[in-house]
Symmetry: C2
Subunit: 323 residues, 2 copies
Amino acid sequence: MIRVGINGYGNLGRGAELALSQLEDMECVVVFTRRDPGKVTTLGAPVAHVDEMAEYVGKLDVVLNCGGSATDLRTQGPQVAKLFNTVDSFDTHAKIPEHFEALDAAAEEAGTLALISAGWDPGLFSIMRVLGEAVLPSGSTTTFWGPGVSQGHSDAVRRVEGVADARQYTVPVEETVQAVKNGENVELSPRTMHERVCYVVADEGADLERIEREIVEMPNYFADYDTAVNFVSAEELAREHGGIPHGGQVIRAGQTDDGIDSAITYQLQLGSNPEFTGSVLVAAGRAVARMAARGQTGAVTLFDVTLTDLSPKSAAQLRKNYL
Amino acid sequence: MIRVGINGYGNLGRGAELALSQLEDMECVVVFTRRDPGKVTTLGAPVAHVDEMAEYVGKLDVVLNCGGSATDLRTQGPQVAKLFNTVDSFDTHAKIPEHFEALDAAAEEAGTLALISAGWDPGLFSIMRVLGEAVLPSGSTTTFWGPGVSQGHSDAVRRVEGVADARQYTVPVEETVQAVKNGENVELSPRTMHERVCYVVADEGADLERIEREIVEMPNYFADYDTAVNFVSAEELAREHGGIPHGGQVIRAGQTDDGIDSAITYQLQLGSNPEFTGSVLVAAGRAVARMAARGQTGAVTLFDVTLTDLSPKSAAQLRKNYL
């Protein structure tokens, strides 16, 4: 049984606990929180304060760092890696090499193993970008996101005056997706790749035309996209748009010979972004626990992990039933 | 530079040479053939007789066994593994554990590394079956094949009296594919999953109704499927159906929580089945050469290979640009 600690209990930590509850080879031993442990209600796992973490050394095979922000993960990462093998979902692209170096130094010194940037993007989509290029060297790789909820864009809409609540979906432009799969030389710009669809609850008496104009013209967030604004009631928003779905697809399109086209598409359609991300962190945790048990130390990514280590099945079972 | 030998020069061997010609970190040093080397025309690689293989020890980092049949690969496998690190595309499902054991014994004794069952199925699809289950443990995995040419079924049609030539396409039933992605409880039988579409050139004066009846009623090959028979001219067959496209998709559909559905789809659309398979063998060859250089011996599968070993890029490049 692989003994797992979850560090941080927001949507992602809860998703990881949910994933662990479905497994027979891994168990959630403890959830660490910065809040008052008595006030955190888990799905069943015991709760401890982060300050008690050191008391769990020797009792956990891996800790999943489920901090809510990139800042959390950057500060927590090296600290936790001094005590435990770790997994995180660090996704601030430009800072990945720096984060890797910090974790590598801390983990090497402590003799632990730290896997960074697990999840679906970065994570599974990263795997597909590398795999696609390895098996189809002449071609190009394109990533589309959605349909799914973007928290950052939803927050941006909520900041518009007169908006009581809002939800923003990022939606890939199907025409462009098809053109990319067909290997057509299509323009790839924000507007040709993704549409933005907003569901907005306005304050009573608010000027709806102004709200719509302010949204669609908002720089960075919406101005470079075709944006649809739909005004709905608070009840409809809660009823129809209460989930946190997401997904996307990575397409590798290329040629094995002149005029011989191939396309590789990896698509995710996720009912709950944090639940699925939590589930990927758990699978990565399994691999980290096994690799660490074989003596591996330092920082790694999913690029350094084999399928055999990710799977609960034995190598012989995998060969017999999955090849 | 990773030095590669190709053993066997049919469609697959040619596909592997074509893939190698697009790479900067690998080169095709020699093609081995059972035929008269003077009569084999490659894309540029030197040709030697298989009996001369031992002379190449020390000159090749990996040999890609591109034998045309499962029988070839079973007999060649252990012999070649005594001399070189190897990769094959062994795909007789029931015999995989046995083939693995034979290669493992031969390779361990010789101190070489042998990777079996590379390609797309087995191969990339196998990876997706394991990965899908690891990251979405509660669910089911379904594989659809096509649209693509099935050589076995094309041959079966050609054996019908009065058929001069034929090409058979396996086509997934789109309605069933969608139902599986949606997590619906749909019946999965030969008929609900795949259709068979035949293009047939009949001998002059042949009884077309009888030919069609014999095809659609043929046990094992067609009787369990909805089969369409289209009679065409030899010219049309050559013009419209001369390629060897194939592909398919692996779908993992499941739930991260009660009522929260997720679907993971990996789809291949391949202009040339043997060219793409050859390209996968080459990527596997890169990994084998690197793993063997680190001292690994015995038999492995793609389940035991990291993305870092499959890719021509360095680990730091991958972290910086692909995560």
